[in-house]
């Protein structure tokens, strides 16, 4: 069925008395929803809300500060995905408060787009140490795990991990009391981990959930499935992206993840610690742990774990507020001069809304 027909089927659903809020937890979904203009096409009673689907946004300040100090104080090169470089942390005036600011002070910090680039760069810089600062969800950590399994990985390559798992954040939101009636699960995370990883939303929390991809047809198919179930007060798991997502995911990728990383409790910026939501290098790779090899003291956080003053990025990540409800949105905070991480990252909801032309601040 094509996207237009699926949209018509959604528009033909009977309107409930109260709106149905549908959470997404992937910056890619939020980007598709916003850029396709789905909010203006769907009935008024459907509310599409972005959640914690931005790995750069939830990366703890302490991890960024550690990377900054490592690059400033040790003779090494540090690389990170480009989004990470401009994320500001709360530090005292005069201190480099982002990786970009540290680079301006002379640290050798470079943006990369792939672990393949990191391997090539490590080879060309050897024996100079190269630290790969990794933020990301399963879709990024699986490639990093594959990189670690390479036979002739350069000995001068080290990692600082700030990767996170997606589903524990959703369970955290559900345990806190759900602010949504249905959800769309991230298609490419599910391609790796399997659609079944999201079954708990239906079975434990009695909410409809659909795995969806990023084009209009799969996204609308997923939305139609969860809305139809929500209207009937049914809970079910649907896979609206079967061309890419299998029930149990990609076994090779999962085996590499298990070999590379242990699962640990981990802090999320603006949210707090979430059980079993982070990755740590297994003992096999302990010698590549940058925080052990290049120790730094990171103290003096004014508001540890928090977002910048006045910034509602935390409420946006927790699905309590929409980007335009932040007092700073489009006023003090724009992609050109961002205050909170949600306006920095390509996957941040504020950045996505602003880039798509959403100019009405409703705060």
């Amino acid at each position: 069925m094509n996207a237009r027909d699926t949209l018509a089927r959604i528009q033909a659903l009977p309107a409930p008395l109260r709106p149905i809020r549908v959470l997404n937890v992937c910056g890619g979904h939020e980007r598709s929803i916003t850029e396709l203009g789905l909010r203006s096409l769907l009935p008024d009673w459907v509310q599409l809300i972005p959640g914690p689907g931005c790995p750069v946004c939830v990366c703890p300040e302490e991890a960024i500060h550690q990377a900054i100090q490592m690059a400033l104080l040790h003779p090494l090169t540090l690389v990170a995905f480009g989004d990470m470089l401009r994320v500001p942390v709360n530090l005292n005036k005069g201190e480099a408060n982002s990786l970009a600011a540290a680079r301006a002070q002379g640290a050798d910090i470079r943006p990369i787009a792939s672990p393949l680039e990191v391997i090539a760069l490590a080879r060309s810089l050897a024996p100079r140490p190269l630290v790969f600062f990794v933020a990301g969800f399963e879709t990024t950590l699986a490639p990093v795990a594959a990189m670690l399994a390479e036979a002739d990985l350069p000995a001068n390559l080290f990692l600082q991990l700030a990767g996170r798992r997606t589903w524990p954040a959703v369970e955290f939101l559900l345990q806190a009391g759900s602010s949504f009636e249905a959800m769309i699960a991230p298609g490419h995370v599910a391609a790796i981990m399997g659609a079944n990883e999201w079954r708990f939303v239906a079975e434990k929390y009695a909410l409809p959930v659909a795995v969806a991809g990023f084009a209009a047809d799969t996204l609308l198919t997923g939305l139609h499935a969860v809305l139809r179930h929500a209207l009937r007060h049914e809970a079910a798991l649907d896979n609206a992206y079967p061309a890419v997502v299998k029930a149990d995911g990609n076994p090779q990728a999962q085996a590499l993840l298990a070999k590379a990383f242990d699962i640990v409790d981990a802090p999320w910026r603006g949210i707090g610690s979430i059980p079993a939501s982070g990755y740590r290098l297994t003992s096999l790779h302990a010698a590549r742990d940058a925080s052990l090899q290049f120790p730094v003291a990171i103290s003096g956080h004014k508001r540890s774990g928090q977002m910048p003053a006045g910034c509602d990025c935390a409420a946006v990540l927790l699905a309590h507020k929409r980007p335009s409800e932040c007092r700073l949105y489009g006023r003090a905070c724009t992609p050109e001069s961002p205050i909170g991480p949600c306006m920095v990252s390509d996957e941040g909801a504020c950045h996505i809304w602003w880039r798509a032309g959403e100019r009405v601040a409703t705060a």
Binding site: C26, G27, G28, R31, S32, E35, L36, G53, P55, V56, F81, D83, A113, S114, P115, L116, E117, A135, G136, F137, T139, T140, A142, P143, A146, M147, A149, E150, P186, H188, V189, A191, I192, G213, F214, A215, A216, D217, A243, V244, V245, N250, P251, Q252, A253, L256, D346, E347, R355, A356
Partner: protein
């Protein structure tokens, strides 16, 4: 980082391949895929330089249309 790009395999060499999408050719890694690996002409979904799953040609076309629409929207 979560935006995947479907790419068409052009040639294989060991655990790597050359693949192209929207006229851009780049080297990708195949090591996240279960065996047997794809052949030249097959499509894969690529994340940060690594193929994470095989996809069919129709899905790849639809994704490229979406991608181009987004880039057009971004420039507007």
């Amino acid at each position: 980082m979560c935006l995947g790009v479907p790419m068409k395999i052009v040639s294989l060499h060991g655990e790597r391949a050359f693949a192209e999408a929207l006229g851009v050719r780049r080297e990708i890694a195949l090591s996240l895929l279960p065996q047997p690996w794809p052949h030249p002409g097959d499509y894969v979904m690529v994340h940060v330089g690594y193929a994470i799953e095989r996809v069919d040609a129709t899905l790849a076309e639809e994704s490229h249309t979406l991608w181009q629409a987004m880039e057009a929207g971004r420039d507007a």
